[in-house]
Amino acid sequence: MSEHLLEVKDLKQHFPIKMGLFKTRMLKAVDGVSFTIDKGETLGLVGESGCGKTTVGRSILRLYTPTTGTVRYNGELITDKNIQGFRKEIQAVFQDPYSSLNPRMTVGDIVGEPLDIHKLYATPAERKAKIDELLTLVGLNSDHSRRYAHEFSGGQRQRIGIARALAVTPKFIVCDEPVSALDVSIQAQIINTFDELQQKLGLAYLFIAHDLHVVHHMSKRIAVMYLGKIVETASADDIISWPVHPYTQSLISAIPIPDPKKARARRRIVLEGEVPSPLNMPQGCAFRTRCRYAVDKCAQETPKLEMLGEGVGHEAACWNPQG
């Protein structure tokens, strides 16, 4: 068996929701998700709000204990007991650079905390040298280490978050919407920083975002999620050039193109209706209520993620794939 850096198999994350005094219902935030990520590779995870993409990231980080399913890192099973050891390998960068940094700590202490926890230095001088090195790596400078988070702009704060994640020299980073809170011009700076760090340090990313432009730019492969399930995976270029799942197709056609002539020339597939509540999911394929190609089978059986052909690396979960 080939060794993947990260292997997620049939991951399910269900949350009990109280409905009145005695009744509880299960909210299936993630319902059977499998994927692998290789060393130095980026997998993009896209989907609309509520589709479970953030929950996938958090389950990998063991911020939640998965309901069922396994996560293996370098072939080793991650459990609640041994997660501490993996924290040195798997780190996270979160969406909101305003709430993910402690306002009472100096930047030096924020970046230094993982070093303290994992005892990665011998002398205070070494600690300081490491912090300075990390800040330089993400495009800040060592003078910044004595300031507090509120003194920085959004983009700089996100750099601090990245420096903190890199402190323990991880091999894998879960990036949960790391640029969606930033302005376009700053967003491009941070995306380039992620690119450079990947090349320099050989990092693997799980890049979670709702913006297909950004995900496509960052990722080698993309997985599209809808209501807790992956509906299509393919290489980044294939997803945009030959999407086969009707949901992926409409998602791509819904993205505004920053080019007036192209934008006005194309025909858009506008989806009818809205995402059903994950508490009350339709039988069979979850997308069938909004799908224009739905057939009888879609209501009866849930489609599984299947290869479209030998060796093409393009999978879709659809009874009536298009294109």
């Binding site: 491009a188 950004v214 409409s250 007036p260």
Partner: protein, 335 residues
Amino acid sequence: MSETILQVKNLHTSFPTDSGEVRAVNGINFNVNRGKVLGIVGESGSGKSVTAYSILRILDNPGRITEGEILFHGENVVDYDKTQLRAFRGAKVSIIFQDPMTSLNPVYTVENQLVEAIRLHTPRNPRQARERALEMLQLVGVNEPNKRLKQYPHQLSGGMRQRVMIAMALACEPDILIADEPTTALDVTIQAQILELMMELKNKLGMSIIMITHDLGVIAEMCDEIIVMYAGRVCERGTAEEIFYNPCHEYTKGLLHSIPKITVGKERLTPIAGSPIDLLNMPKGCAFASRCDKAMKVCLNTPPDEIRINNDHIASCWMNVKPVSGKTQEGESKQ
């Protein structure tokens, strides 16, 4: 050329604060023409929302219009008193906000809120107003409008709420609809629905739209004319084609380069260096000079005037000043 409904002339809006005066809008000019969509694009803090709030005179305290004119059919909105403003807002110019979650009142039903808006501006009795409300909900594509009228905002999804907001804004048939980041809080598939709806309604009702957004994609799809704002000033103003295919301000060029494009194959993004400007410490010259790699001496000292590129295009950038014969561009030639 179609009729000009709204003219904004040399508008200045500022917020006096303890740490100094924040000059959010610094002398901007533009026109809104009948039946056209005007896009205002810029990053956070560029003054695009403050411009919209100034037009409607709904600035939060202590914001003040310190200079300039806002002419609506020739009347200066800046001089309006309370009664005139009440007749102006909602009926002549109305607005939809970014966040459909907080812009509806949570303790009133949809019907209450729609009927209130309609009765304030039109002489309808309660029954007629309710009919109008129902008609509006149908117009904006709310399913089961009869049931929705009885519901509270929290019972509706984000897209539904934004439709209700649009229904409310359009109930009195305004001449201009200001849309302040109307789809930023929504998912892309819902965003596509709402944008489609706005264009459809614009054509049906013949109103003008001022579309405020940071998303260049939305701008490209919707707008006839575009204003690019930076630090409270207009960098560039022109038709959509001119702005996207012939950008003449370094900031606009930077913005267009920093968006990842969905094309096969990858190229490195060219971001704009530096961080957004601090409105409390505005530089003497061009506000963008500190982030501009083409900045010259003149940029640091003198803010550029509006320079006409052609009939449909104006840019405030010294790079567009043709060198006067005998002098180089770096020379302090003030044209």
